[in-house]
């Protein structure tokens, strides 16, 4: 089976420099499992990573993403399944013999070395002459936007963002086929993180390398990635473009991973999809194969206030309980009987509403997402 896969990959010619997203899978996972005792940390994963792609794997802690990453980087061997790199089976190839490189969460910079020595480490391993090494290191420093004067600086005296760049440059010095990232941005403050996310994406574009980024933050993944895979309990719940994950989540887990949503558990009755309290909802776009029970998900940003005189497919009357400022937008907590709903609206659209006001909220069937259980 592996041989067949290998042959298939070899047979697919891709022209060099075909743009930063080509179609050839550089890294393939087929039924990859990792079992610790009785517990399957990774429970059957199939993913193709295409050449030059930026893929993020997102999941809550304990979803198995770190174990997956360790297998990809060569620090664990899968219990079952195949990992192939450019068609070669690499299940048991140790980390030092894989043309892949991991940027650690801790960055794992060598504290006793200078910025230059850190970046040159993989080149030194390859026995590149010192002069050539230095030239390449300076080149990489320019690429990650580190000033040349940092070459001789002790790496522990760099700021958080600078260390990030050193770690990146060191990874690039290794010249790997695939770069893995173990949420290296998680320790940074919000502003720096946002800036570096964008820079990382720029670097991805410039380098043309395949990036696989592991994170627990879907927001981070969305900003940078060509594709996002959402992991849950050792499996990939869904993988697709950020757009697909956002608009067409396959289940409640994926939908709720984005943050707060309004959800309605509905059952299929004679009159249509009915909530527990007997309200029949106007629903559209029910995916194939969903029947009997389903969940209707309405994101706070698609839920809206329905002023008197206008209409929506579904409406609910309630009272504004509280309001939260999100900057350019406002979020309202609306109580309707026992239930609590969230509505997000721009400041102008919701003008003048405040806590205690009786309101009608609603959504159009097309804006809701229906997922099976």
């Amino acid at each position: 089976m592996t041989l067949a896969t290998a042959a298939a990959i070899e047979a697919t010619p891709v022209p060099e420099g075909a743009g930063h997203v080509a179609t050839k899978p550089v890294l393939q996972l087929v039924g990859v499992k990792k079992v610790f005792g009785e517990f399957a940390a990774v429970d059957g994963i199939n993913v193709d990573f295409k050449e030059g792609e930026f893929v993020s794997i997102v999941g809550p802690s304990g979803s198995g993403k770190t174990t997956l990453l360790r297998m990809l980087a060569g620090m664990e061997s899968p219990s079952e399944g195949y990992i192939t790199l450019r068609g070669n089976l690499i299940n048991d190839v140790p980390a030092d013999q894989r043309p892949t490189c991991l940027v650690f969460q801790s960055l794992a910079l060598f504290p006793h070395k200078t910025v230059g020595e850190n970046i040159e480490f993989p080149l030194k391993v390859r026995k590149m002459p010192p002069a050539e090494r230095k030239e390449r290191a300076l080149e990489l420093m320019r690429m990650v936007r580190l000033p040349e004067s940092y070459y001789g600086k002790n790496v522990m005296r760099c700021s958080g963002g600078e260390k990030q760049r050193v770690a990146l440059a060191r990874a690039f010095a290794y010249d790997p086929d695939v770069l893995f990232f173990d949420e290296p941005l998680s320790a940074l403050d919000y502003k720096l993180k946002k800036a570096l996310e964008k820079e990382l994406k720029d670097l991805h574009r410039e380098s043309g390398k395949t990036f696989v980024y592991i994170t627990h933050s879907l927001e981070e993944a969305m900003v940078m990635s060509d594709r996002v895979g959402v992991m849950s309990r050792g499996r990939i719940a869904q993988i697709g473009t950020p757009e697909e994950i956002y608009t067409k989540p396959v289940n409640r887990f994926v939908a709720e991973f984005f943050g707060e949503v309004n959800s309605f558990e509905v059952t299929e009755r004679v009159g249509g999809w009915t909530t527990a309290d007997g309200t029949v909802l106007t629903v559209s776009g029910v995916p194939d194969g969903v029947s009997g029970k389903a969940t209707v998900i309405v994101r706070p940003e698609t839920m809206r206030f329905v002023p008197a005189g206008s209409s929506a497919d579904n409406t609910i009357s309630g009272v504004i309980y509280n309001e939260y400022s999100l900057g350019s937008r406002m979020q309202y907590q609306v109580h309707a009987g026992e239930r609590i709903f969230l509505v997000e609206a721009s400041r102008t659209a919701s003008g003048g509403l405040s806590a205690g006001d009786a309101v009608t909220i609603g959504w159009d069937a097309a804006d809701a997402i229906v997922v099976g259980d």
Partner: protein, 300 residues
């Protein structure tokens, strides 16, 4: 601002406040007194004795360089004791570094964060007097002792005659000073973050390369402290050569002991001790100045 300028321009007034002892000095005074009486005073006394008239107790009353002249007299063979002590100390340090590193490394791999505790177990024998432990080894190596007797009982020709040789002295020193090398070394190795080793490996480094480029430099502070400790202790070793070596070799510490006790020549003993202190501290300071701990630790 103006106030600050005024005070800086005028000479500081000797008020009651500036005359009094600062809180820091007051807090440090118990330790200062203890160090002064327990450490500095004996050292000064020894130094003073070194310049006293030979075979006298005229400390602080006479001043002469005769003791040193006697030591540096070409007829005097005391220099061989210095050489032996330093050779044994040096061999102990080198061999212990080689022996203790794999043990410390293995313990850290096996026991992880419990390695510190396990290496305390190695220190346990220190609770038994060094002499008692060394006599235990005498019983082990002596003719018809544990080793020799057991081998004969098993039908062999008998154990090798190792007792009362320089080799036995070295063995005794390695045995006695192992914990002093192992403990700091183990702490040093425990300071190597796992991630760094994984990262070096991920970047293609071989086992040897990881050891040379990452593990060794990061464990260096602990290794250095262990080396320094064992060197200082080894240079002052006396029991091993007396008990296991049967005085086949005279160490400098033994010469000093003899001068103070048997010979009742305190000034000569003090002069020898002073020279030993000068050599050991000189070597230690030289080595430490060559190695920048802060740089190794990445604090700079």
């Amino acid at each position: 601002m103006a106030v600050a300028l005024d005070t800086s321009a005028a000479p500081p007034a000797k008020t009651a406040e500036t005359m009094s002892i600062s809180p820091g000095l007051r807090s440090a005074s118990p330790v200062l007194i203890l160090l002064g009486l327990g450490f500095l005073a004996p050292l000064i006394t020894v130094a003073a004795y070194a310049f006293a008239a030979p075979k006298s107790f005229d400390v602080f009353r006479s001043f002469t360089l005769e003791n040193f002249a006697a030591i540096f007299d070409p007829q005097n063979t005391v220099w061989t004791s210095f050489v032996w002590s330093l050779i044994f100390a040096f061999l102990t340090v080198v061999l212990l570094a080689v022996i203790a590193y794999p043990i410390a490394y293995g313990m850290n791999r096996m026991f992880g964060k419990w390695a510190g505790f396990v290496s305390v177990l190695f220190v346990f024998p220190l609770f038994v007097s060094e002499n008692v432990r060394l006599y235990g080894w005498v019983l082990f190596f002596i003719k018809n002792g544990v080793l020799d007797g057991a081998l004969k009982w098993l039908g062999f020709a008998g154990g090798p005659e190792v007792l009362y040789t320089p080799g036995a002295i070295l063995f005794g020193m390695l045995y006695v000073y192992l914990p002093f090398m192992l403990f700091p070394m183990s702490l040093g190795i425990a300071m190597i973050p796992r991630d760094l080793v994984d990262a070096a490996r991920d970047l293609g480094a071989s086992r040897l390369m990881i050891w040379r480029e990452v593990e060794l430099p990061l464990a260096m502070p602990g290794i250095l402290i262990g080396m320094l400790l064992t060197f200082v202790l080894g240079a002052g070793a006396v029991a091993e050569s007396k008990i296991l070596g049967g005085q086949s070799i005279i160490t400098i510490a033994q010469d000093i002991e003899v001068a103070f006790t048997y010979a009742q020549n305190w000034p000569l003993g003090s002069a020898l001790a002073l020279i030993l202190v000068a050599i050991v501290s000189g070597l230690a300071l030289y080595v430490l100045s060559k190695l920048d701990l802060d740089r190794i630790l990445g604090r700079r």
